[in-house]
C-alpha cells in the first residue's frame, strides 16, 4: 500500500506558487539558512519548492494519474521535513522573488502540510509545544507567574488590570518578556516608558495567553486557532482602544494572523510605533545624551513581515548624541538573526552561526551599541556578541529609550 501525501492542507495559492517558481535562484543568494550559513540547496527557498513539488507531483501529477502514484519512502519524507524546518521564515526570499511569491505564507503552510502528514513538528519542538498547550507559554512556567515581572517594578510603573478596570491601552506583554529573566527588562522598560508618559494602561495579568506564534510557525494551526480565539475573547473583555505589544512576534501574529480567525476589538500597534507617537505628541522627551554609534537590527517580524522600518530609527535619531549607522543589509534586506521559525529550538548551532553573521555585520560598520525591538533577536544577538567576544553592547530599544528619557537634566 502506497502512502499517499495529503495535499488538502496546502493552500490553493501555495500550490499555484510552486508552479510559478522560475527556478531562477535569486532567493538562494540571500537565504540565511540555506544559502549563507550552510549552502544546502534543499534548505533554500528554491530547493524546498522544487522538492515539495516533486513529491506531490509524483503522486498527483499527470504521470501519477496515468500510471498511478509513485511510492515515496519515509526516509525521503523525513529528510524533506527536517530541511523544511531549518528555515527561519525570515521572508528575505519574498523580498527578492521576481515572481512575487508570498514565501512567508508558503513556508508556514508547508509546515501545516507536514503536520497534516505526521511529518512535523520535529521532536525538538515537542517540549515547547507541550509547554504551550499545558501552561500557555513556551517556558514551562506556571500561569500564576506570568505577571510576576510587574511586581518587581513597585512604584516605578502603574500597571492596571485590564480585565478588572477600564484602561485605554492594553499592553500585551508576550511570554518571553514575561517569563525569561534575561528579557524581562523589555517589559519593565516598556511599562516605565508608558507610565512616564502618563498612559492609562493595563495588562491581562496572569490571564494573558501565548499569542500562538510558535504554534503557527511550526505548522500547528489548529492548536493556534484555539489560542487565538481565547486571546480575542480576553481582548473583548478588556475592550481597550489600542493594544500595544513590545514583542515583534506577538505583533506580527496578532496583526496579521488573528484576523484570519476572528475580529480584533481594537487595533494593535508595536511599542516602537506607540513610543514614537508619544514622543511626537510631547508626552516623552529623550533628554539623556548617548554619545555612541548605534545601529538597529530590523526584526523580520517587524520589518519584512509588517513593514515597520522607520519608527525605531526615528526613536534612535531623537536621542541626543546618537550616531545612527546602518548595516550594509538593512530594512527589507536585513539579515535574519537566525532565531525564528523554530530554528533556534531545533537547530541551535545553525541559529548561532546566523546570529554571529549579523553581529559581524554590525561590527563592520563600527557599531558600538546594537539595538533591536524583538525578544528573540535580542536573545540571539546578545549570545552572539558574547560568543564573538565583541565589545559591542546589545540593548533593547525600549531600554535605550528609557535610559535617555529618565536621565537627569
Amino acid at each position: 500500500m502506497i502512502r499517499r501525501l495529503d495535499i488538502s492542507s496546502l493552500d490553493v495559492r501555495a500550490l499555484m506558487s510552486y508552479d510559478a517558481c522560475t527556478r531562477c535562484g535569486e532567493c538562494t543568494e540571500t537565504c540565511p539558512t540555506g544559502g549563507e550559513a550552510q549552502d544546502v540547496e534543499m534548505v533554500t527557498p528554491r530547493g524546498k519548492i522544487l522538492r515539495l513539488r516533486e513529491l506531490y507531483k509524483a503522486q498527483y501529477g499527470l504521470r501519477a494519474r496515468i500510471l498511478g502514484p509513485k511510492k515515496i519512502s519515509d526516509a525521503e519524507l523525513k529528510e524533506f521535513a527536517a530541511r523544511a524546518y531549518e528555515c527561519t521564515i525570515c521572508g528575505q526570499c519574498r523580498t527578492v522573488c521576481p515572481s512575487h511569491l508570498d514565501t512567508i505564507e508558503m513556508w508556514e503552510n508547508m509546515r501545516e502540510f507536514l503536520v497534516a502528514n505526521s511529518l512535523g513538528p520535529l521532536s525538538a519542538h515537542e517540549p515547547i509545544v507541550k509547554s504551550i498547550e499545558n501552561y500557555d507559554n513556551p517556558w514551562m512556567q506556571p500561569r500564576t507567574q506570568r505577571s510576576r515581572w510587574s511586581k518587581r517594578l513597585g512604584e516605578e510603573a502603574r500597571i492596571g488590570d485590564s480585565l478588572k478596570d477600564d484602561h485605554e491601552i492594553l499592553y500585551f506583554v508576550g511570554c518571553t518578556a514575561a517569563y525569561d529573566p534575561n528579557i524581562r527588562p523589555m517589559a519593565e522598560n516598556t511599562a516605565r516608558v508608558l507610565t512616564h508618559a502618563k498612559v492609562d494602561f493595563g495588562t491581562l495579568g496572569n490571564e494573558e495567553g501565548c499569542c500562538g506564534s510558535t504554534m503557527m510557525r511550526t505548522g500547528l494551526s489548529e492548536s493556534a486557532k484555539a489560542m487565538v480565539l481565547r486571546n480575542i475573547e480576553r481582548f473583548e473583555r478588556a475592550s481597550p482602544s489600542i493594544i500595544v505589544t513590545s514583542c515583534a512576534g506577538c505583533y506580527k501574529t496578532i496583526r496579521q494572523d488573528y484576523p484570519k480567525y476572528g475580529k480584533l476589538p481594537a487595533p494593535i500597534v508595536h511599542v516602537t510605533e506607540f513610543a514614537l507617537d508619544l514622543m511626537n505628541s510631547g508626552h516623552i522627551s529623550p533628554i539623556g545624551r548617548v554619545d555612541k554609534t548605534v545601529s538597529f537590527h530590523d526584526p523580520c517580524h517587524l520589518g519584512r513581515h509588517a513593514g515597520l522600518y522607520e519608527q525605531p530609527r526615528s526613536i534612535l535619531q531623537s536621542i541626543p548624541g546618537v550616531k545612527l549607522v546602518e548595516m550594509h543589509r538593512n530594512r527589507e534586506d536585513a539579515r535574519c538573526c537566525g532565531a525564528g521559525g523554530g530554528v533556534k529550538t531545533a537547530f541551535p548551532e545553525l541559529a548561532t552561526g546566523i546570529s554571529e553573521l549579523r553581529v559581524a555585520d554590525a561590527e563592520s560598520v563600527g557599531c558600538e551599541v546594537l539595538t533591536t525591538s524583538c525578544p528573540f533577536c535580542y536573545q540571539s544577538l546578545k549570545s552572539a556578541v558574547s560568543a564573538r567576544g565583541s565589545n559591542m553592547e546589545m540593548v533593547d530599544l525600549m531600554e535605550f529609550l528609557w535610559n535617555s528619557v529618565h536621565a537627569p537634566r
Binding site: 490553493v12 495559492r13 499555484m16 510559478a20 522560475t22 527556478r23 535562484g25 535569486e26 515572481s99
Partner: protein, 316 residues
C-alpha cells in the same frame, strides 16, 4: 479504474453532483478546443510559403494536437491547485468560481491596479531590474520577444487569412515589409539574444545561484533550436528564392545574413525545413505545461494575486 473511484472524488460526494459539476467545466472547455481546432483547420492559408500541401496538412494536425495538449495540460495543473485547502466541492467547481471572480475583476475598481501590476511586475519585471540589470535584460529579451511574436502571429494571421489585407500580402506592401519581415526578425532576434545570454550563463559562466537540471537545460535548448531554426528557415527561403522571399529580402535582415552563407540549392529543402520548424514550434507549446516554462502562466497569476492582496491590505 472508473471515474467514480478516482482519487479526485471525495467519498461523501454524491456522484450525480460530481458529474454535473464536472460537466459545467468540461463541456465548454472541450467546446473551446473543438472551436479552436476548427479555426486552425478551416483558415484558407492562401499565403503560406510552403508549397507542398501535404506538409501544410501535417503541420496543421500537429498544431491542433499540440494546442489540445497544451490546454489539457494547463487545465490539469490548474485543477491540481484547486485541490488545496478548503475544498468543499470538486476542483472543477472551485475553478469555475475562481474564473468567475477573475472575470468580475475586469469590471471592478481593481482593474486599473491589476493592469498596472501586470505591466510593471509581470511584463517589465521591475523587481528583477532592481536586483540585477543583466539578469533583467536577459529575461526581458526572451519575454519581450515571445510576447511580440505572439502578438504579430495574431495580427498577421488575422490580416492574411481572415481580412485578406493586401499590404500584408503584396511583396512590397508596408505591412509585409515592416510586420511580417522586420517585426518577426526583431522578435526572433530579441529571443535569440536573451536565450544566448541564458545559455552562456547557465552552461559556461555557471554562477552559484544557477542550478542546472534536465528541465532547465531542455527548456533553453528547445527554445534556442526553435528560434535559431526560424532564421535558418528564412535564410533557406531567401537563398532558394522561394515565393515571398524574392523581393526586399534585406528587410528580413538576419535571415538575409544566413542566406548569404547558404547555396541556392538549399531551397529544395525549404518545405522540409518549414515543416520541422513548424512542428518544433507546436511541440514547444505542448511542452509548456509540463516544463519550467509553465511559469509563464503561473507567475503572472502569482504577481497579480500579490498586487491585488497588497492593494486590499492598503485599502483596509
Amino acid at each position: 479504474m472508473g471515474l467514480y473511484s478516482s482519487i479526485l472524488i471525495k467519498p461523501d460526494m454524491p456522484d450525480g453532483r460530481y458529474l454535473s459539476e464536472r460537466a459545467l467545466l468540461y463541456v465548454p472547455f472541450f467546446a473551446m478546443i473543438v472551436f479552436a481546432s476548427a479555426i486552425i483547420l478551416l483558415l484558407p492559408y492562401d499565403t503560406v510559403y510552403v508549397r507542398d500541401q501535404a506538409y501544410l496538412q501535417m503541420f496543421l494536425v500537429t498544431v491542433v494536437v499540440c494546442t489540445a495538449v497544451f490546454l489539457l495540460g494547463t487545465l490539469h495543473n490548474v485543477l491540481l491547485w484547486m485541490r488545496g485547502k478548503g475544498l468543499v466541492s470538486t476542483p472543477e467547481k472551485r475553478l469555475l468560481c475562481f474564473a468567475g471572480r477573475a472575470l468580475r475583476l475586469l469590471f471592478s475598481r481593481m482593474l486599473a491596479r491589476a493592469l498596472g501590476v501586470f505591466v510593471r511586475d509581470a511584463l517589465y519585471l521591475s523587481r528583477l531590474k532592481g536586483r540585477s540589470w543583466s539578469r533583467w535584460f536577459m529575461h526581458i529579451m526572451i519575454l519581450g520577444g515571445f510576447v511580440l511574436m505572439f502578438v504579430l502571429d495574431l495580427v498577421v494571421t488575422l490580416s492574411l487569412d481572415v481580412l485578406q489585407y493586401q499590404p500584408m500580402i503584396e511583396e512590397s506592401g508596408w505591412a509585409k515589409l515592416w510586420l511580417r519581415d522586420v517585426g518577426f526578425e526583431v522578435a526572433g532576434l530579441m529571443m535569440l539574444i536573451g536565450l544566448s545570454i541564458a545559455a552562456i550563463r547557465r552552461f559556461i559562466l555557471k554562477p552559484s545561484i544557477v542550478r542546472t537540471e534536465l528541465p532547465d537545460a531542455a527548456s533553453i535548448i528547445f527554445l534556442l533550436a526553435v528560434v535559431a531554426g526560424g532564421f535558418v528557415l528564412e535564410g533557406i527561403g531567401i537563398a532558394g528564392t522561394i515565393p515571398g522571399h524574392q523581393e526586399n529580402v534585406e528587410y528580413s535582415f538576419l535571415g538575409y545574413a544566413v542566406s548569404v552563407m547558404l547555396p541556392a540549392s538549399s531551397g529544395e529543402f525549404y518545405d522540409a525545413a518549414w515543416l520541422v520548424h513548424g512542428i518544433m514550434s507546436a511541440l514547444l507549446i505542448a511542452y509548456i505545461p509540463f516544463s519550467k516554462m509553465f511559469h509563464m502562466i503561473a507567475s503572472p497569476i502569482a504577481i497579480e494575486l500579490d498586487g491585488i492582496m497588497a492593494g486590499k491590505e492598503a485599502l483596509s
